[in-house]
C-alpha cells in the first residue's frame, strides 16, 4: 500500500515560492483543483506531493487602478460577478461567465486555467486579445509573460519548474468581443472561440480551442475586410480534430466566426 500523499499548505507567498523551488515539478500545484481532480479521478496522475495555494494571502484579488489585476487564485465566478470587471472589462466578465457551469466557476481560478493550458478553454483567447500579461514569481525574483507567450502547446506553458503565476494584468479594454462557437450542446466546450479586441487602433484577433495555443496572426490583423481576415485565419491555422469537430470543419467555422466577430466588433 502506498503512503498517503503530502499536502503542503504554505501561508505566505515567500513560503510557497520556497517550496516550489525545492520540489519543482514533483509537487503538484493546487489552485482550485478542478482540472487536477479530473485527472485524479481518471487515475491519470497520482502525485506524491501537493502544493496548495489556498492559504497564501494576496492572491485572490480582483481590483483595478488603470489596469485590471486578477489574482491567480481569483475564481471565475469572482471575475464574472465583479462590479469593476463588469463595468470596465465587460467582455472579460462575459467570457469568464461562459465557462462550464457555476459549480466549476466557483472553484476554477484565473491562474489555474492559464497554467493548465487546456486548449478547449475560453479565457486565454480573450486575455491574449486584450494584451494581458501573467505576473510570474519565483524565489528571489519574477517576471512578466505576455499571454501569447505563456501557452506553448497542448497542456504546456513556458513556466519554469520553480515559477508560479501570481497575477494576471489586463490593460484597459477598448472595444472587444468574444464568440464561443459550440458545435453541439449548449453545455459543450468551445469548438472554436474567437476573441477580437481593438485598442489604440490596433486590432488583435485570437482564435482559441482549435489548436494547442491560442492562435494570433498580427500581420493578418492589419487587413481590413472581416471576411478576408476570416479566410486568412482559416488558412493559417492547422486545427485539431476532436469530439467537437474535425479539422476541416473547424477550418470552415474559423473563417465564419472570425468574420462575425469583426462584424460584431465594428458594428458599433
Amino acid at each position: 500500500m502506498s503512503e498517503a500523499p503530502a499536502w503542503l499548505a504554505p501561508t505566505s507567498l515567500a513560503e510557497a515560492l520556497e517550496l516550489k523551488a525545492e520540489h519543482g515539478g514533483e509537487a503538484t500545484v493546487v489552485a482550485g483543483g478542478t482540472f487536477l481532480a479530473i485527472l485524479l479521478n481518471a487515475r491519470l496522475i497520482a502525485p506524491a506531493k501537493y502544493l496548495a495555494l489556498r492559504d497564501v494571502p494576496g492572491l485572490a484579488q480582483v481590483e483595478a487602478n488603470g489596469e485590471l489585476r486578477l489574482g491567480a487564485m481569483a475564481t471565475h465566478r469572482a471575475v464574472e460577478l465583479s462590479p469593476v470587471v463588469r463595468e470596465r472589462w465587460p467582455t472579460l466578465a462575459r467570457t469568464f461567465a461562459l465557462v462550464a457551469s457555476p459549480r466549476i466557476r466557483n472553484q476554477a481560478t484565473v491562474g489555474g486555467v492559464l497554467a493548465d493550458a487546456d486548449y478547449a478553454s475560453d479565457p486565454p483567447a480573450l486575455l491574449t486579445a486584450l494584451g494581458a500579461r501573467a505576473v510570474v514569481a519565483r524565489k528571489g525574483g519574477g517576471r512578466e509573460i505576455a499571454l501569447e507567450e505563456l501557452v506553448t502547446g497542448y497542456y504546456e506553458t513556458s513556466l519554469e519548474r520553480d515559477e508560479l503565476i501570481v497575477e494576471v494584468r489586463v490593460p484597459p479594454q477598448g472595444r472587444a468581443v468574444y464568440r464561443k462557437f459550440r458545435s453541439r450542446s449548449h453545455e459543450d466546450r468551445p469548438c472554436v472561440g474567437v476573441a477580437a479586441a481593438e485598442r489604440d487602433g490596433e486590432l488583435r484577433v485570437v482564435v482559441g480551442a482549435v489548436a494547442g495555443r491560442p492562435q494570433w496572426f498580427p500581420e493578418i490583423c492589419e487587413r481590413e475586410d472581416p471576411a478576408e481576415i476570416g479566410r486568412r485565419y482559416a488558412d493559417a491555422i492547422d486545427p485539431i480534430s476532436d469530439a467537437r469537430g474535425s479539422a476541416e470543419y473547424r477550418r470552415r467555422v474559423i473563417a465564419i466566426e472570425v468574420r462575425r466577430a469583426l462584424e460584431e466588433l465594428w458594428s458599433g
Partner: protein, 689 residues
C-alpha cells in the same frame, strides 16, 4: 412527510450494503476480438478473491434470446471491454488496484465493426454457433443464420413489391444510418450478491427480475426458486438494466468468496455494458402520382455487438414497425440482428422504433417532395385507419395516427408556413405476447400491492397504486407498493415496452375482484396472446399500438451547419391517463431524449475502442438545449390505458430531420451533426468540397 427524492433520503440499488461485503472490479479485454490465452492473477494479493475463467468454465451459457454468453469470456473476448476476469477486495480502491495486477495474455483476431459487412457470408465470425435460449424472454421463434453473424432474421412477406413498384410513378430508394447511443442513466449499474446454503440472494437495479432469475438459475444449475432477487428503485434505466448484466459475475464472486460481493460500475464502464443498436436501414418505397403508396421494401441491419442480448427482439420490432402506419398493398421487410465486435447492444427506450421511424419518415418526405404533395396530406392519404389491416395481417383497432399527425402539425403551425418544419409519425408495438400477475393483500385498514413492476422513475408504481386505490375505493395513501422481491411477487414478463401500467391494470381488476371474494389476499393474472411468424411477419405484432406524431421547426445557420430547434410538439395517444403529472413527465422526458438522439448522441469508436466514453465528449441534452416544447395527450372516453414511457421519442429525430430536409438539406444519418448539415448545404448549392 416530504418525498425522499427531495430530502436526500432516496435509496437506490447502489446504496444497498451488507456487513462484511467485498467490492468487485471487472478485468476487461483491451482487444475487440482476441483469444484469451491465459489469466495470471498471482500478483493480485492474498486478500483478494479472483474469478478466473477456470472458475466459471463449468457454468452454463446464458442469454435472454440466444445463449451466447459465458460468465467470463472463455475462449475469446468479443469486444473491447468484454469481462475476462474479476476480483473482489475489501474496498473499491483495493479491488481496482488488484484488477490492474491481473495479467491476461491474448492473441488478437480479426475484428469487424460494421453490421452490413458483418452480415456478409465471408465475414469473420464473432460466434461459431448459436443456441436459442429457453428464457421466457425468447418469446418468438428465433432464426439464427448458421455460419454467419446473423443471430436473428425477421421477415415480412406481404404481397409482391416488384409488381407494386411497376405500378409506382415515383420510387425513392435511400439508405439511412443511426449511430449507437448510451442510456446514460445517472445511477450506474449496481448489484450485490450473497449465498447461503446454496441459495442466492441478490439486490440489483433491474427492470427484469424474473428473466434475470431464470438465466441465473440456468447458469448456476439451481432452481429459480433458490434465487431471491430484490429490486430497489433505480436512478434511471431506459432499458440498460435488463437481463443479466453484472449479476452473474457478482454472484460467482460471492460464491467463491463465501462473502457478499457488491459491484457498482464506473461511468466509463457504462459504455462497455449495454448500448443502443446502431442501424443501417435501406428503404425503397413507391407511390402513384396521386399519392397512393403501392409498395415498400425495407432492409434493416441492427448491429447487436459481441453478444445478442435482446438484439433479435429489437431487430424484429424494428422490422415489423418499419413499414410505418400506412396502407401499403405490397410490403417486404428483411431485418437482421448482426454480431460485430463492439459492446453488446440491447433494449433502449424506443426499442428499434427510433431507427426505423428515422428511415421510414425521411423516405416519406422525399417521396412527398417528388410527388409535389404536402408532407402532411401525403401521410393522411395513406395512414392506417380504424379497421384497416396492417401488413402483418392484423386488424388495427383503436387507431389514432391521423389525429396525432394533425395535432402535431397544429402544434408547430404547419398550416401557416411549412418551411423549416417537419413531421413524423410512429407506430410502436407493445410487448406481445406477455403475461403479468399481481396480488393485493389486506393489512389492517391498508393494502399492499405485490407486483414485479420495477421503479426507474417512470412512475408506473404510482399509477398502479392509483388504479388499485380506485378499484378498492380507498385513498391512495392507504396503498403500499413495496420494492419487488421475486419471493413475494407474482410473475411478470418485465418492466419494459411501456406495458406495465396497462397490463398490471388489467391484472389488478381481477386481483381486486379476487380479494373481494376471498378476503385477505387477491390474485389476478393476465395473459396477452399474440406474436409473429418470423419468416412471413404474419400474426399479431402488438396487442394494441402506441401511437404518436411529432412536429419540429428548425432554423439552420447555413454557414456553420448548426441546427436550432425552435419549436417541438408531440401528440401522443394515451387512451386513458391515470397519473397525469407522470404522463407529462414521460412525454417530456421522451421528447428530450429524442432531441439528444437527433442532434447530440453518438458513440464514437476507433478499432472497436470507444473514444468518447465520458459525459463531456458524449453529450446528453441540458436545460439550455431544450426548445419551446409542448405536447398533447390524446384520450378518449372508455379508452384503454396506453403506455407512455417511450412513444414520444421515436418521432422526434425524424421530425427534426424532415424539418432540416424541408430547407433542401439532405441528411441521412443520426445524429444530425453541424458538419453533416454544412455538407448538405454544399450539396444543395452545388459546391464541390
Amino acid at each position: 412527510m416530504a418525498d425522499p427524492r427531495v430530502t436526500g433520503a432516496a435509496r437506490y440499488a447502489e446504496d444497498v450494503q451488507l456487513p462484511g461485503m467485498l467490492h468487485a472490479r471487472i478485468v476487461r479485454s483491451p482487444y475487440a476480438h482476441a483469444r484469451v490465452l491465459s489469466v495470471d492473477a498471482s500478483a493480485a494479493g492474498e486478500d483478494v478473491v479472483v474469478l478466473a475463467p477456470d472458475d466459471v468454465r463449468g457454468l452454463r451459457r446464458y442469454g435472454c434470446q440466444i445463449k451466447d454468453q459465458a460468465v467470463l469470456a472463455l475462449d475469446r473476448a468479443r469486444f473491447a471491454g468484454d469481462p475476462v476476469a474479476a476480483v473482489a477486495a475489501a474496498t473499491p480502491q483495493l479491488a481496482r488496484a488488484a484488477a490492474d495486477l491481473v495479467e491476461v495474455a491474448y492473441e488478437e483476431l480479426e475484428a469487424i465493426f460494421d453490421p452490413v459487412e458483418a452480415a456478409e457470408p465471408d465475414a469473420p465470425l464473432v460466434h461459431d454457433t448459436a443456441a436459442i435460449s429457453d428464457n421466457d424472454a425468447a418469446y418468438f421463434d428465433l432464426r439464427p443464420q448458421s455460419g454467419t453473424n446473423i443471430c436473428h432474421r425477421f421477415r415480412i412477406r406481404h404481397g409482391d413489391p416488384e409488381t407494386g413498384f411497376d405500378e409506382a410513378d415515383v420510387i425513392v430508394d435511400e439508405t439511412f444510418q443511426t449511430a449507437g447511443a448510451q442510456h446514460v442513466h445517472m445511477e450506474p449499474h449496481a448489484a450485490l450478491a450473497r449465498w447461503e446454503d446454496g441459495r442466492l440472494e441478490l439486490w440489483t437495479g433491474t427492470q427484469t427480475p424474473f428473466n434475470l432469475r431464470e438465466d441465473l438459475a440456468g447458469i448456476f444449475g439451481i432452481a429459480p426458486e433458490e434465487i431471491r432477487i430484490h429490486c430497489p428503485p433505480m436512478g434511471g434505466a431506459f432499458g440498460a438494466k435488463t437481463f443479466v448484466r453484472i449479476e452473474a459475475i457478482v454472484a460467482a464472486l460471492a460464491r467463491k468468496a463465501n462473502r457478499p460481493v457488491r459491484c457498482v460500475l464506473e461511468r466509463s464502464e457504462e459504455w462497455l455494458t449495454l448500448n443502443r443498436h446502431p442501424a443501417v436501414i435501406r428503404v425503397k418505397v413507391g407511390a402513384r402520382a396521386d399519392g397512393t403508396l403501392v409498395a415498400k421494401r425495407v432492409w434493416c441491419w441492427a448491429d447487436t455487438g459481441g453478444y445478442a442480448d435482446c438484439g433479435p427482439g429489437v431487430a424484429q420490432k424494428m422490422g415489423f414497425a418499419a413499414p410505418g402506419p400506412y396502407r401499403i398493398p405490397h410490403v417486404w421487410v428483411d431485418s437482421r440482428a448482426v454480431y460485430t465486435n463492439l459492446a453488446p447492444n440491447g433494449a433502449f427506450r424506443g426499442y428499434g422504433q427510433m431507427q426505423c421511424v428515422w428511415s421510414s419518415e425521411l423516405a416519406m418526405d422525399l417521396l412527398a417532395e417528388r410527388l409535389g404533395l404536402d408532407a402532411l396530406e401525403f401521410r393522411l392519404r395513406n395512414v392506417l385507419r380504424e379497421g384497416d389491416r396492417y401488413c402483418t395481417g392484423e386488424e388495427m383497432h383503436d387507431v389514432h395516427f391521423a389525429d396525432c399527425l394533425e395535432a402535431a402539425a397544429r402544434g408547430i403551425g404547419w398550416h401557416d408556413d411549412a418551411r423549416g418544419k417537419g413531421l413524423a409519425v410512429v407506430m410502436k408495438g407493445m410487448q406481445t405476447p406477455s403475461r403479468a400477475g399481481i396480488a393485493i393483500e389486506r393489512d389492517g385498514d391498508r393494502f399492499v400491492v405485490r407486483c414485479a413492476t420495477a421503479e426507474m422513475g417512470q412512475g408506473a408504481r404510482r399509477a398502479i397504486s392509483l388504479l388499485a386505490a380506485d378499484l378498492l375505493g380507498v385513498d391512495v395513501a392507504r396503498v403500499r407498493f413495496p420494492d419487488p422481491d421475486t419471493h413475494l411477487v407474482p410473475y411478470d414478463t418485465r418492466t419494459t415496452s411501456s406495458r406495465s401500467t396497462y397490463v398490471m391494470g388489467l391484472a389488478l381488476e381481477r386481483a381486486v375482484g379476487d380479494l373481494r371474494e376471498h378476503g385477505e389476499r387477491g390474485y389476478g393474472e393476465i395473459e396477452i396472446p399474440g406474436g409473429l411468424d418470423p419468416d412471413t411477419g404474419q400474426g399479431v405484432a402488438s396487442h394494441h399500438w402506441h401511437q404518436a406524431a411529432a412536429g419540429a421547426e428548425v432554423r439552420v445557420d447555413e454557414e456553420t451547419g448548426k441546427v436550432e430547434v425552435v419549436r417541438l410538439h408531440a401528440a401522443v395517444y394515451a387512451g386513458r391517463v391515470v397519473n397525469r403529472a407522470g404522463a407529462e413527465l414521460q412525454n417530456e422526458g421522451s421528447m428530450i431524449m429524442g432531441l439528444g438522439t437527433a442532434l447530440l448522441e453518438r458513440i464514437d469508436h476507433a478499432d472497436g475502442h470507444i473514444t468518447n466514453a465520458n459525459l463531456s465528449d458524449y453529450e446528453i441534452p441540458s436545460f439550455a438545449d431544450v426548445p419551446p416544447l409542448t405536447h398533447d395527450l390524446l384520450e378518449r372516453e372508455g379508452g384503454e390505458i396506453h403506455g407512455l414511457g417511450e412513444t414520444a421519442l421515436p418521432p422526434v429525430p425524424a421530425a427534426v430531420g424532415n424539418a432540416v430536409a424541408s430547407l433542401g438539406l439532405r441528411v441521412r444519418e443520426l445524429p444530425i451533426s453541424a458538419e453533416a448539415v454544412l455538407a448538405a448545404v454544399d450539396e444543395r448549392e452545388g459546391v464541390r468540397a
